[in-house]
């Protein structure tokens, strides 16, 4: 139960953060897009994007200090699986124009059919991937 309450509350904060960004500069809090654009693009938008990413890092740092138990070690070492995960997340989010924050939270909140389809797609392939990985690992 506590798990679920924390999940809901954390979700509300995520929703609030997304709304805050929209309110202040009219942008979507789609982290894959913000991250990629911050790194690979030049121009006037680099500032707010870098700031948002820095905020994620600093907010994370704050929580790591206060509640390190929220950041358990899951991946104990570098592996082929982890490498593939990173490459696919990086490439896929760009090709698909978003991720869990952009499509899953912001897009669905606008009732965007594109985002609903995108979210359903990555949920489905995520579920299938976990299932297959379980079968392979035995």
């Amino acid at each position: 139960m506590e798990n679920i309450l924390f999940a809901l509350f954390g979700g509300v904060l995520i929703g609030l953060a997304s709304s805050l960004l929209l309110l202040i500069n009219g942008r979507t809090f789609g982290i894959s897009g913000i991250c990629a654009s911050a790194i690979f693009e030049r121009g006037p938008d680099k500032g707010w994007r870098m700031s948002a990413i820095l905020g994620l890092i600093v907010g994370g740092l704050l929580m790591i200090v206060l509640r390190p138990d929220f950041f358990p070690v899951y991946h104990k070492e570098i592996s082929l699986t982890l490498t593939a995960a990173g490459l696919l997340v990086g490439f896929g989010t760009q090709l698909g124009s978003g991720c869990t924050s952009g499509h899953g939270v912001c897009g669905i909140s606008k009732f965007s059919a594109r985002s609903i389809i995108a979210t359903a797609s990555f949920m489905a392939s995520g579920i299938l991937t976990v299932y297959i990985l379980k079968l392979i690992k035995g």
Binding site: I14, I78, F91
Partner: protein
């Protein structure tokens, strides 16, 4: 500091706090949600409910304003409506990566200062993947 940058930073901090409290910085919880045939962990579902419930409500109020309150003349949210191959293929790819690692951009970036080598490695691979797409789409 420019107000836009300051408030964007604040939004990032708030977002990361939400990610941590919600449990989404634990790849185990994410994979547990995707593990529907196993020991299913519903946390992620409730994170989405909390996030979408909040943002969907505030979104409708915010976009009624003439413009954003700090910067920008319009609400520059994505306007595309096409359900095309890149959207679906990209999302499927992202989902595979998400299922393999239990990580997506937000939680990974928020976890940067743990100093965990696997997280740093994931982030590096993610950025390489992002760059690779940019390279590939420039060519075409």
């Amino acid at each position: 500091m420019k107000p836009n940058n300051l408030f964007s930073f604040a939004a990032g901090v708030l977002f990361a706090i939400g990610l941590a409290i919600s449990g989404m910085t634990d790849p185990g919880k994410v994979i547990g949600f995707l593990d529907v045939t196993g020991n299913w962990q519903p946390a992620l579902m409730f994170v989405m409910i909390g996030a979408i419930g909040t943002h969907a409500t505030l979104y409708r109020v915010i976009i009624k304003k003439p413009k954003p309150i700090i910067a920008g003349d319009i609400f520059a949210t994505p306007k595309s409506t096409s359900l095309d191959k890149p959207l679906i293929l990209g999302s499927l790819m992202f989902g595979v990566g998400w299922g393999l690692g239990g990580l997506c951009p937000g939680p990974a970036i928020a976890s940067l200062t743990t100093g965990f080598i696997p997280i740093l490695w994931f982030l590096m691979c993610m950025i390489v993947g992002m760059g690779a797409h940019r390279l590939v789409s420039k060519k075409s």
